[in-house]
Symmetry: D2
Subunit: 343 residues, 4 copies
């Protein structure tokens, strides 16, 4: 059994990690921490876990965590970087679901996150946890930067096109729509039901923190700087990201459907739907799946890729466990087989 610790388990990625890990056959959760809820039973905060776990929240102390084989950070940005050196030194592996180790460049991190990075020397070692891009490196990783939710949906959608050099890399557009759980579980006016239900809006158009993350990933694949316009939107639902991606084809004769099917044939968690499909976010609710569909409207040179994920699963907790499975030599799909709940 893998001994697991969770730092910061009171948010939506935390409860989702718990839902999946409690049922994972090779995992034993050793500790779950929360500064604000010390001593409170997890099932008091999250009654869906009543009868399934006796865990209580504890102080986020190094001692307890160093006994773990791996620690998940489901805490705010800046938390993992404060404990990473010590944990790694103690031989504990780390999967950070926040942003601390996603950007390889400390200056870029400072620019977008507004604070100095406290362990920049680890940035080069951190492996970006998108298995479809980085599987080999993940198997041996000590420190995994779990991707953001938008970056997961957008990169999986663009990947085959960029890898093959089929589109104008300077004119990429990603128009993404997210459920509200992406904003986290925080007492804020902006995500009250009465503020966001029955409404849709774009936000962060001048610049969202997931932009540099996506660009970094696509740059690496393209082996040259890409130009991306990324516009996130808030839609009135709990879970789900729908990303509609636009690019201009260099050559319209390519069989895009075959390209995607081939690229993802062996991926357990990427589903290329039949030509003409329109994936719904609800088809992946609660599941670790990304569904894709590829269109070329009116036979023109604009390709439209539709990509859907559950932001809390393939966009966060599920992908983190997929990474853990890889890191510990388990079947990649272990504990991640539950079927999306529909309706």
């Amino acid at each position: 059994m893998i001994k697991v610790g969770i730092v910061g388990g009171t948010g939506y990625t935390g409860v989702e990690l718990l839902r999946l890990l409690v049922a994972h056959p090779e995992v034993k959760i050793e500790a779950i921490t929360s500064r604000s809820e010390v001593g409170v039973a997890v099932s008091v905060l999250f009654p869906n876990l009543r009868g399934r776990t006796n865990l209580c929240f504890t102080e986020p102390k190094l001692d307890a965590l160093t006994h773990c084989d791996v620690v998940f950070f489901a805490a705010p940005n800046g938390t993992a970087m404060g404990m990473a050196r010590a944990l790694l030194a103690a031989g504990v592996r780390i999967i950070d679901l926040a942003a601390d180790f996603r950007l390889r460049d400390a200056d870029t991190w400072l620019r977008w996150y507004g604070v100095l990075h406290s362990c920049p020397e680890l940035l080069a070692e951190a492996v970006y946890g998108l298995p479809e891009m980085n599987r080999a490196a993940l198997r041996n990783a000590r420190l995994v930067a779990n991707p953001g939710c938008y970056p997961t949906a957008v990169q999986l959608g663009f990947l085959p096109l960029i890898e093959q050099g089929l589109v104008d890399n300077q004119r990429l557009i990603a128009d993404a729509k997210s459920g509200v759980s992406g904003a986290g579980r925080k007492a804020e006016l902006g995500t009250l039901l009465c503020e966001v239900t029955e409404s849709t809006k774009a936000y962060a158009v001048p610049g969202h923190r997931h932009l540099p993350e996506i660009v970094q990933g696509l740059n690496r694949v393209a082996a040259s700087p890409v130009g991306l316009t990324f516009v996130p939107h808030l839609t009135p639902m709990v879970r789900g990201i729908e990303a509609t991606l636009y690019a201009v084809l260099r050559d319209v004769s390519v069989d895009l459907q075959a390209l995607y099917e081939t690229r993802y044939r062996d991926e357990p968690f990427v589903d290329v739907m039949p030509a003409g499909s329109h994936p719904e976010t609800r088809s992946v609710r609660g599941a670790n799946t990304c569904r894709l569909a590829i269109h070329r409207p009116q036979g023109g040179d604009t390709v439209v890729v539709l990509s859907v994920i559950d932001n809390l699963v393939k966009g966060a907790a599920g992908q983190a466990i997929q990474n853990m499975n890889l890191m510990f030599g388990l079947a990649e799909t272990l504990g991640l087989q539950s079927i999306a709940i529909l309706p």
Copy 2:
């Protein structure tokens, strides 16, 4: 492996049965029928099942079904009674998720459902599939009438009070609130998103078909006729029933919390919450659990029981599988352990 057939798999109880049975370790689905979708892959209708089943819908023919060990009817009322005799004769056991075998009296059935019952001789044999009430009989049942969603929530809530004769049986009130999936997957104006979202209403106040079913169950427990006012409501959500039950105590000195905890101590799917709790339907979304809380407001003689279930799971497909597990001597919880999805 139990060979399972499903008749009428295109509704919401059908897709929920599939979600649970596909993952059930002791089940092999032999056939799923739908007159309107013959030849269509199940995963075309329900993309959450892509990659998890290759089943296609077939004609509802006896031949194919008689090879099964058990057939679930997730079809409209009146379907099961048309095939029950033949299937039973062939040694196939039946679990009907519709209403055909819920009422023991053929006249009552006629009055509430408006058609003659076509095999009234089976009514006496049919076992009402509420395990918390009928566990022993279910183990040997050939024909199980799976309870309605409201009757599950209401009966589990009233049961301990009625069994112990603690309340005035003539003044029972059940005010129940249901999600929209209870109305089924049918092309109708009344359940369009634009007709039911952002609104709440009572319906069927003059009389709902679940009323005689609940009364029959409570009568049997009380061993005398009870008087129940039952008012169902439609609330703007997909899944979930919240039933708020009111009764007048004969004796206010009883420890109701202890009574409920004792009554349900060994029930794997009934959770009596701590005193003072207010269960949320979301805490059981996707799970086969009924959560209860008991209140006596202002210390008066009115007891208020709060009961929540997922109408598609404990109120339909999950309970049906719980019954199957009992009928076939499996662990009662097999295939029913998934944790509610929250948020």
Copy 3:
């Protein structure tokens, strides 16, 4: 033109007051206050008002408010009682949308609201602003206690029965379902979209502050103490209250439909629907209307009254303006004629 001040205009009753008062033909809004948003344009907080008002939030100072003819308090409990004496002394009339003057007994106020009342001498003068109960007194009122949202729906539903002494007053039950806007516009976890959407729950079953308010009103009508069990529920919608009321009839021969139609024949904002109806909250969304329907299920002795309002309109801002119209001798419906938005 009536010169109007609004204290505490940043909540949902505040923005609803603004929506209605900006379009009221006999009103000029002189000031709107908010400690936290001083200097901010109202239309920045509430973009629906862009182009319709140039008001900015100001400090809640007495000076500015004493120039008004009437001041609405849309602020938290405890605000109005701090300014009431001074405003009344300056000849300004007051309509408090919070609870400060709803309970006539200072001790009861202390028990339910947890703080001493700071001007108990005004409680006797305050007129409870339910026009259907108190129209005459409201015309001359200096100080109006605008009813709570639940009390409006529940009292209008019970009124004809209690006035005529037709039911057992000791066994009244009000099972009420509310949208989330009733909880106000505050940065709190409990009303985040992800916490309350797709779920229903009862809350405050041991005791809700609207209980003593309802009981006080019904006691007065009954001229004796009534016994009421009141259970509020949270449903996943923004606006609307549906109250399902239960009582035991002393005499089942009364024509309840005629009783209600007669009682409310001349009421502009109470709509008794045809026999057999099931009012939906969406039928009053944005409108100052209470719709009622009366049932006697299965011809028994339990009467079921269904009552729906928009909690922000007839349950708050609209009723406040109805009261203002009465106080200033205007047509009672002035500025309150807008039709509910459906869908």
Copy 4:
């Protein structure tokens, strides 16, 4: 008073027309027709209108309609073209909220709508009812083709850029998100609450009927053929369209904020928000307003325009009344001043 007829008043544009016309000070509704609901009171179908109109649905007969000054068609595509010649001959003016007269080319109509146009000779006369583009022609129009909902949001967003020739017309992208009411009030599986809530999806990516309408409008403004990729999406809300528009600037030095503010300065129903804004659809719910915001992310050469409307108001019934006001020489804003309901 303008005598108004409505053909096909049982859908969502029908009830919205009624909500607005019943309150319009210069309108008298003479007749409202519905083949399926003849004799039924409008307020039975739409209880929000109880007490506000005594109209009943009648047969759609020419006789009754020829007494009207203007007839609104809120009926399915193909209805208006069947009655247009006779009504015009009788001196009745027409506003069609469906698509019959939106496309000027009968062949294009056939290709996208699949049936022959039955009065192609009227296409040249029909005036496209987007006042911000066609105000002068609308004042004298006999026959107005009221724009589609998406075309209203998209064209108002692109107009200033195309008029001034500021962008590459071959690379226009419109990513639009719509509420479900845009699909109409029809008994269909696809728009059941349980099928569309808590989910987002793109649809009609290969080609939506609003594409040729938008392209025709933009072509005319550009005086040359434009290239547009248009992807509509379904989001889980009732009302609202959010269109996010992308174009490549020829010259990044233009002050886009000033351009938009100038272009729409005198438009009563287009609101250019301050630089940096993110309009929400709820800010226009129930109102005849289009709110726009203009962004140039990261100072690049891609312009992003955000455009929101209420699809049933500015995208249908409200714009139709705006056109009527123009046609009959009334103040353009008459009867259209109600403020959006928020929350």
